[in-house]
C-alpha cells in the first residue's frame, strides 16, 4: 500500500506567538509537525507495517520544513518530498492543494492521509480540496482505522454526538483526528537511518506549475492582517465570609455578566 502524507511545519504553539506589523513573527521561533499530521504519519506507518508498501511524506514550505520531513523519516517514512519555492509562500488552501495534487500524481498511490486541520490556522481546507482535485472519496475526522485487506479501510469517524462507521474503497483520502492513535517517538536508530533516506527538493517548475497559479498571486483567499489577541483584564478576588462572598458573586454574575439573562 503506497501512502502519501502531506505534513505542515507550524510554529510550536506552546511558545509566545508574536505579531509584528500585521504578520506573525517567524524569526527565532521553533517549528514542529502540526499535531494531527503526526497522527496521519502514525496511521500510515501502521498500515505499511501491516500491508507493506511505501510511505511518502510531503511538505510545502521554506528551508525549515526539511526538519519536519526528517523527523517523519526518522519515525519510519520511506521518502520525503520538499516543495521549497518562494513563489509557493502565502498560498491559500487551494494553492497548497494544487501543489500537493501534483506531488501525489508523480507516482502511483493508494491512499492520502492528512491531519484534520493544521494546528496554526485551524483552517482544515487543504485536505478536502486535494481530494476534490484528485477526484478521490474522502472521510474526515477519523478516530479508528482497521484494514484487513489492502484495498479497503474500515473507519470510524467522529460526528457531533456519535460515531459513523464507514467502509472505504481505495484510492481515497482520509483525515486523522488526534484520538486515532498515539504517534510514536523516533528511535535513535530511526534518526540515524533518516539521514540516508531520499529527500527530494522540488521547485514549482518541476511540478509543471507556474508561480502565478499558487502563492500570494494565485490565492483566492487573502489574509489581510493578524492581530494579537486582546489581553484579558485581571479577575476580581473576593475575601471574607462565605455567605457574603457568594451573594456578591451571584449578584455580579446576574447583573454584570448577565449570564442568567
Amino acid at each position: 500500500m503506497n501512502i502519501v502524507v502531506p505534513i505542515k511545519s507550524v510554529i510550536d504553539v506552546e511558545l509566545n506567538i508574536r505579531v509584528q506589523e500585521g504578520k506573525i513573527a517567524k524569526d527565532g521561533m521553533s517549528y514542529i509537525i502540526s499535531k494531527w499530521d503526526e497522527n496521519a504519519i502514525e496511521a500510515a506507518l501502521q498500515l505499511k507495517e501491516k500491508h507493506g508498501g511505501e510511505v511518502t511524506v510531503v511538505s510545502v514550505g521554506p528551508d525549515r520544513a526539511s526538519e519536519s520531513l526528517r523527523k517523519a523519516l526518522a519515525m519510519g517514512a520511506d521518502k520525503a518530498v520538499h516543495v521549497n519555492d518562494p513563489a509557493a509562500e502565502d498560498s491559500d488552501s487551494f494553492g497548497f492543494a494544487k501543489i500537493l495534487a501534483k506531488v501525489a500524481q508523480r507516482g502511483p498511490f493508494d491512499l492520502i492521509i492528512t491531519g484534520k486541520q493544521a494546528q496554526d490556522t485551524d483552517m482544515g481546507g487543504t485536505g478536502p480540496i486535494l481530494a476534490e482535485l484528485l477526484g478521490l472519496p474522502q472521510v474526515y475526522n477519523v478516530i479508528k482505522l482497521e484494514s484487513d485487506e489492502p484495498s479497503t479501510l474500515k473507519l470510524n469517524r467522529l460526528g457531533h454526538q456519535g460515531q459513523e462507521m464507514v467502509e472505504l474503497k481505495l484510492p481515497a483520502l482520509i483525515a486523522a483526528n488526534d484520538s486515532l492513535n498515539e504517534p510514536r517517538l523516533a528511535s535513535l536508530r530511526g534518526i540515524m537511518a533518516a539521514k540516508k533516506k531520499p529527500l527530494d527538493v522540488l521547485k514549482l517548475a518541476d511540478l509543471g506549475l507556474s508561480p502565478d497559479e499558487v502563492g500570494a498571486k494565485g490565492a483566492r483567499v487573502r489574509t489581510l492582517e493578524f492581530q494579537p489577541p486582546k489581553r484579558r483584564a485581571a479577575g476580581k478576588k473576593f475575601e471574607g465570609d462565605a455567605e457574603e462572598v457568594t451573594r456578591k458573586v451571584m449578584d455580579l454574575l446576574a447583573n454584570e455578566a448577565k449570564i442568567f439573562a
Binding site: 509566545n16 508574536r18 521553533s30 526539511s66 526538519e67 526528517r70 523527523k71 526518522a74 517517538l185 523516533a186 528511535s187 535513535l188 536508530r189 530511526g190 534518526i191 540515524m192 533518516a194 539521514k195
Partner: protein, 391 residues
C-alpha cells in the same frame, strides 16, 4: 516581556546538527510523557520504573553510542544530550542507562569475543537483558587496584570469590561484568568476567538503606566459589586499565546528565520565584533571589558549553582523560550546588517531593561520589598539570 530560557543564554541549539536537535527533542518528549509524571512516587517508595526498560531499548537509548549489534551508533554529543534529558527526569533512570550502555555493554563491546558480543549486545540493546558492572568493593572504592576479588583457574573453569558493593542494577541484572584478579595479586592481573544470573555462588542482595538514588536498583554482588566457564572471561581485557577505560567512557555522559538534573532544579526555582509572593511581591523581584538564579544559569551555561566542546573533541578522537575528568568534576559539583540553591529558594516547599530539587539534590550526592569522586578527578587533572601523582 518575553523571558529568556537557558537555551537563549547558551545558544546551544544553534550549535547542534539537525539529528542532534531531533534526538534531544525526542528524549525530552519521552521524559515529559513517561518519566516526570511518576518518578517522584518511585523515589518515595524506593522502586524503579522497570516497565520503562523495554521502552528505553525500543528508542535505542541503551548502548546508543556503540556501533553494530543492534546499537544506534550515535556520536558523543547526541549520547550526552539524550542522557541530559533522561537525568532531567531522574539521576536513577540515567544511571540505569549509563550502567547498561557505557559500562556493561561497552566492556563487552570493547573487550569481549565475537561470541560474547553476539550473545549479549543485541538483547541488552533491546532492554531484554539487564547488565551491571562490578568493580567497586566495600573496602576498595577510589583505589580499585586494591580489589580482593579473585579468579582462580581450575581446569576448564574459573572460580570467583569476592564481594562488590554499590552496584547499580545488580539486584535485577541478568548478566554482571565482574572485575577480578586472575591467579595473582597485581594490577596487571585484572580481568573482566561475564557472570550470568543463575550461576552457583552468585548472589545480588540489594543495599538496604539509602537516601539517594532511591528510584534505582542498587546492590552487592557476592561471589562464593562461583564457577564460570572459561569462555566467560573477556579475552581482550588486560589489567586495571580495562575497567578504567570503561569508567572514562561513562564519565563524559555523566557530565552531561548531571546538568540535566541542574536544569530541572533551576527551572523549578525560576518558576517558583516568579510566582511565590512574600512582602507583597514575587520573590523573583528581589535582588538576592535574582543573584542566585543568575549564578545558577551561568554555571549551567558554562557547563553545557564545556561539555559540548569536549564531546566534539571526543567525537574527533582527540580527547584526553584529564578533559573528561574536568567535565565530570565541574558538572556534578555545580549541579549539586545548584540543586541546593534551588532547594533553598523553594523555602519549606523545597523539602517536599512535590518539587524536584530535593530529589535531585539527594541523587546528586551519589553522582558526586561515583565514577571517580570529585577529589579523584582533582588528582587526575592535578597530575596532568604538575607531573606529580598525588594518589
Amino acid at each position: 516581556m518575553d523571558t529568556l530560557t537557558l537555551d537563549d543564554l547558551s545558544g546551544l541549539p544553534g550549535l547542534l546538527t539537525e539529528e542532534e536537535a531531533l534526538i534531544r527533542a525526542t528524549a525530552r518528549a519521552f521524559v515529559a510523557e513517561q518519566v516526570l509524571p511518576q518518578i517522584a512516587d518511585h523515589f518515595e517508595r524506593k522502586t524503579f520504573p522497570d516497565e520503562l526498560v523495554p521502552e528505553l531499548g525500543a528508542l535505542g537509548y541503551l548502548g546508543a553510542n556503540l556501533t553494530g549489534y543492534g546499537c544506534a551508533g550515535v556520536n558523543m554529543v547526541s549520547y550526552g544530550l539524550m542522557l541530559q534529558e533522561i537525568e532531567y527526569g531522574d539521576s536513577g533512570l540515567r544511571s540505569f542507562v549509563s550502567v547498561q550502555g557505557s559500562l556493561a555493554m561497552y566492556a563487552i563491546h570493547r573487550f569481549g569475543s565475537e561470541e560474547q558480543k553476539q550473545a549479549h549486545l543485541p538483547p541488552m540493546a533491546r532492554g531484554q537483558q539487564i547488565g551491571c558492572f562490578g568493580l567497586t568493593e566495600p573496602d576498595h572504592g577510589s583505589d580499585p587496584g586494591g580489589m580482593r576479588t579473585f579468579a582462580r583457574t581450575r581446569g576448564n573453569t574459573f572460580v570467583l570469590n569476592g564481594t562488590k558493593a554499590w552496584i547499580t542494577n545488580s539486584p535485577v541484572a541478568d548478566v554482571a561484568v565482574v572485575w577480578a584478579k586472575l591467579d595473582e595479586d597485581s594490577h596487571k592481573a585484572v580481568r573482566g568476567f561475564i557472570v550470568e544470573r543463575g550461576s552457583k555462588g552468585f548472589e545480588t542482595p540489594p543495599m538496604k538503606s539509602k537516601m539517594s538514588m532511591r528510584a534505582s536498583h542498587t546492590g552487592e554482588i557476592v561471589l562464593s566459589d562461583c564457577v564460570v566457564p572459561k569462555e566467560s572471561m573477556l579475552p581482550l581485557s588486560n589489567g586495571l586499565g580495562s575497567p578504567l577505560a570503561c569508567l572514562n567512557q561513562a564519565r563524559m555522559g555523566i557530565a552531561w546528565g548531571a546538568i540535566g538534573a541542574a536544569k530541572a532544579c533551576f527551572e523549578s526555582a525560576l518558576a517558583y520565584a516568579r510566582t511565590r509572593t512574600q512582602f507583597g511581591k514575587p520573590i523573583g523581584s528581589k535582588q538576592l533571589i535574582q543573584d542566585q538564579l543568575v549564578e545558577m544559569a551561568l554555571e549551567i551555561t558554562k557547563a553545557d558549553l564545556m561539555n559540548l566542546h569536549i564531546s566534539r573533541l571526543k567525537d574527533a578522537g582527540k580527547v584526553t582523560p584529564q578533559q573528561v575528568s574536568m567535565c565530570k568534576k565541574n558538572s556534578v559539583a555545580q549541579a549539586l550546588r545548584i540543586a541546593r540553591m534551588a532547594r533553598a529558594i523553594h523555602g519549606a516547599n523545597g523539602i517536599s517531593l512535590e518539587y524536584c530539587p530535593v530529589r535531585h539534590m539527594l541523587n546528586l550526592e551519589s553522582v558526586y561520589t561515583y565514577e571517580g569522586t570529585n577529589e579523584v578527578h582533582s588528582l587526575i587533572i592535578g597530575q596532568g598539570l604538575t607531573g606529580f601523582s598525588a594518589f
